[in-house]
């Protein structure tokens, strides 16, 4: 059995082990990798910078706990920028499992850093079922959809929400999502009410949204952990996404190497009449 035959019959668990090592090593020995900021991330950052101070911004937490590695750093970075600009932020989620609690934890953590008060500077509306009805209904009345905030306090008792009736009172929507909900924010809210929308999405769903940026239906886009790292750099708050870029680069190199080895193994295996690498 020559080298390529051994490669062909390699147990896939060895590859899992290699990937695990490639993740763990940079954590123990961190290395900085440069992050090039894309025009889409810059566009999103500049759109928010151009908002007048104290503008009302809706930040959505449309993601499950399973994707927080990609999306949560975006929420943190967005809140740093919004609170620094003294924007009034209200949050909501269309995700039942974890959405409301993630929104509470993230907003309260960043708000504390900037001395922001709940009900005056920010409000968490929480979750409501049936996102289509929620997105459409908020165009008429936010209070009709969310009679209370996430803690059960009636919106009428929250000073910040007194003058926020519907999308007309919202200057910008920053949607952070791990699913197709951004498409509905575009087609239902941006198209019908004209509210500008920027989004931070998972890498899996990022490619399809570039055409919406190009058509002007979206004002900026962050794609995956790389997008989060770009935004952390733009708001000068490097955190977990920036740290992850070093690991990301190393694993990508490993995957490229494995693809090359796999193809070479397949080529030699084919020449010898076998099916090639099986991992």
């Amino acid at each position: 059995m020559n080298f390529w035959d051994k490669i062909s019959s390699l147990d896939r668990r060895w590859i899992y082990l290699l990937v695990a090592i490639a993740v763990i090593l940079p954590l123990i020995f961190p290395a900085d990798f440069p992050v090039r900021i894309t025009p889409e991330a810059t566009q999103l950052y500049e759109a928010i910078e151009a908002l007048p101070d104290s503008s009302v911004v809706l930040l959505t937490f449309d993601y499950y706990p399973s994707s927080t590695a990609e999306t949560e750093p975006m929420s943190f970075a967005a809140l740093h920028q919004l609170f620094r600009k003294d924007c009034r932020v209200f949050t909501m989620t269309t995700i039942p499992l974890g959405g409301p609690s993630i929104a509470e934890r993230v907003t309260r953590t960043v708000a504390q850093e900037y001395g922001k008060q709940y009900g005056i500077d920010f409000v968490n509306l929480g979750y409501k079922a049936n996102y289509v009805a929620v997105l459409k209904g908020m165009g008429t009345s936010i209070e009709a959809i969310y009679p209370t905030d996430n803690s059960g306090t009636p919106l009428a008792q929250l000073p910040m929400m007194q003058n926020i009736r519907n999308y007309k009172d919202v200057s910008f929507i920053f949607a952070v999502a791990d699913n197709a909900i951004v498409e509905y924010w575009i087609s239902i809210v941006n198209a019908q009410y004209g509210t500008p929308i920027g989004a931070g999405v998972t890498a899996v769903s990022a490619p399809k949204y570039y055409s919406f940026v190009s058509s002007g239906q979206m004002t900026g886009l962050l794609g995956g952990m790389k997008g989060a790292a770009e935004y952390e750099q733009l708001v000068s708050k490097p955190a977990i996404a920036m740290k992850g870029m070093g690991i990301q680069s190393l694993i990508h190199l490993l995957i490229i190497g494995l693809v090359l080895v796999g193809n070479i193994g397949y080529f030699f295996g084919k020449k010898k009449g076998t099916r090639g690498i099986s991992v």
């Binding site: 123990i28 994707s67 289509v132 009679p147 198209a191 055409s211 058509s215 002007g216 694993i251």
Partner: protein, 213 residues
């Protein structure tokens, strides 16, 4: 870090490692974690819907003393009809509710998809070919070629031979490049999720040891 926080971290770490153990082979610990997750999710979801929809948006507005919205009993009854599926003899009744949902959804989506997705995207594709210098014109040209050839690939009313076949093959190349971009992003996304979990184990779980000892 409080004792409760440390306990939470250790429970989360246990379930993370339990799920990762599947990478070695299917095992009882993985199954246990999987079932706990499914059960917890279902229970949490039912509780959340009960509170945020049934109580907050149906029962309370209907029964409040000041300006009660009694007419909400109509969507309430329509919703309840869904449970008719559980009784085989009258399961057909649930179709009334389903028909309402389908009709409503179709009505909302036809307008929003047409007005919000199809027309703006088509408009953005109809570019002047000579615009924005050499680079702009080149991109516009590639976009137009890509759109036409991809559409031709999905045109099945005529056999893909001759000029139609060549155009369709160009379309396949555009589709493959698109798949490649999606695949690259997918790999990056999955790696990011792994990084997130390993970062949690290294930073929070192993880090919590310093608070214990």
């Amino acid at each position: 870090m409080t004792g409760i926080e440390i306990l939470q971290i250790w429970i989360a770490a246990f379930f993370t490692l339990a799920i990762f153990s599947f990478l070695y082979r299917d095992n009882a610990v993985y199954k246990f974690a999987e079932h706990i997750f499914a059960g917890l999710s279902a229970g949490y979801y039912v509780g959340l819907i009960w509170k945020s929809v049934i109580i907050q948006q149906l029962w309370e507005p209907m029964t409040r003393a000041d300006n009660p919205k009694w007419y909400l009993f109509i969507p309430g009854i329509i919703g309840a009809l869904m449970f008719a599926r559980l009784i085989p003899r009258i399961s057909w009744v649930s179709r009334l509710a389903l028909a309402f949902v389908m009709g409503n959804t179709a009505g909302v989506f036809i307008i929003s998809q047409l007005h919000g997705l199809i027309l703006p995207q088509m408009q953005d594709t109809m570019l002047p070919l000579l615009n924005g210098g050499f680079a702009g014109s080149l991109l516009a040209f590639i976009t137009v070629i890509g759109v036409i050839s991809t559409l031709v690939y999905f045109y099945f009313s005529k056999e893909h031979t001759g000029a139609l076949g060549v155009t369709a093959r160009v379309g396949v190349w555009f589709i493959m490049i698109s798949f490649g971009a999606h695949f690259g992003y997918t790999v990056m996304g999955r790696v990011s999720l792994l990084i997130g979990r390993v970062y949690f184990l290294y930073n929070d779980w192993i880090g919590s040891l310093s608070h214990i000892f």
